[in-house]
Subunit: 237 residues, 2 copies
């Protein structure tokens, strides 16, 4: 998909700027999610504090990009793929902002977790969940940057793994809590972090759905994935 | 705020239809949230099952309204308050859809909860949280229907109560789990439901922020509430 085919240079520039700003916001959100996972796994209270208090930049970017989109809609009256770009951007930045919220939450819980003795036997599973979710977010943002529908579809298809990982972790934590009820508070904080990670996965999936809407003009939310896969020929762009 | 002041009758009608559809979607989502809370509190497995499996209607409405908005943007090139209406609708229905998701989750957990003996000493707090959240959702939808910014602001101001209620409930549940580790699984399900209720409160708050954006053209997300309150005179529309 191309943008930048308008007679008005200024209009081209406006659309390109919006795209650039979304990518910047995505990069910021991604680095916050990475820091959140790092703070959680490495029990780094200082980093956790930083993550827990830097959400305001993401929030500001969301409001600014929304405003840019409103301006373009009002002044340029975009049609077809430009209009889809603007609508997709309005949706994508909402998900990005909420990923920022979840990262902030992980930061908050990680700060508390870092102050107490670590929960043993949890590190591998938690680390694996973090890796999966960060990978998914990275691929979703990359799919948006390159307007790559195949990658977007593969993120959507792979997203079920996250739920399995989360269930595994929940089981481990329940056992841990049953063994010693004094562990309950700490274990709950880990569960909240895992839930926040799961949500980051959900939002990444949403972003991929908007990428497909943007490129193919087809809204695939809430539809059976197999239908979409059947419809798209192997050699599709 | 008025809509319906256009020379084109058809255009007026289209905007009015979009508004009506959002109100319909809101009513459906509200009844699902009510049923979810009822199923949870009354341990009604049958109702829980119904809530857990009726999300598809909400999803379909979201996609349809999104499509209507895209059509109006493409064909009518709305300006000023009409444009804000469309943007607010695109945002509001995303929150409505996610409230539907949370209600579905409560339905799923309530089904499992209804199969086991009840957790004692929790009913009053849980029922109070449910009441608060349902009241907030109702007021948010009403503020949207009547474009009432004062009511929207009062929902936003009151939303902190939800977090306090959630904290109270968490404390109760942790005590309950510590008393008898066999309660842990059941208690966790109650916590998940409480979290889902808390999220419904968050989404209701979002809806109120879009109402204010829609009527006043001012984006108040992520801003200090006191600033807004200071700015609005007592006798504002």
């Amino acid at each position: 998909m191309e943008i930048g085919h308008h007679i008005s240079q200024r209009y081209n520039q406006e659309l390109e700027e919006i795209r650039t700003h979304v990518l910047k916001m995505g990069a910021l959100v991604e680095s916050q999610a990475e820091n959140a996972v790092k703070a959680l796994l490495e029990r780094d209270g200082k980093l956790a504090k930083k993550v827990a208090s830097s959400d305001y930049m993401v929030n500001r970017m969301e409001v600014e990009i929304d405003e840019e989109c409103t301006q373009v809609l009002a002044r340029r009256q975009p049609a077809a793929s430009d209009l889809r770009l603007i609508i997709a951007v309005i949706k994508v930045i909402t998900d990005l902002e909420r990923i920022g919220d979840e990262a902030e939450k992980i930061g908050r819980y990680s700060r508390k977790l870092a102050k107490k003795p670590p929960i043993t036997g949890m590190h591998a599973t938690l680390s694996h969940l973090g890796e999966l979710v960060l990978g998914m977010l990275h691929q979703a943002l990359d799919a948006f940057a390159r307007m790559d529908t195949e990658q977007a579809l593969s993120v959507i298809t792979g997203s079920n793994n996250i739920n399995d990982e989360f269930d595994d972790l929940s089981r481990l934590l329940i056992t841990y809590m049953m063994e010693d009820p004094h562990n309950i508070k700490q274990a709950l904080r880990v569960i909240w972090c895992a839930r926040a990670l799961e949500r980051i996965g959900d939002h990444s999936r949403n972003i991929c759905e908007y990428v497909i809407f943007l490129v193919r003009g087809k809204d695939i939310r809430h539809t059976d994935l197999q239908e979409i896969l059947d419809e798209i020929p192997d050699d599709a762009d």
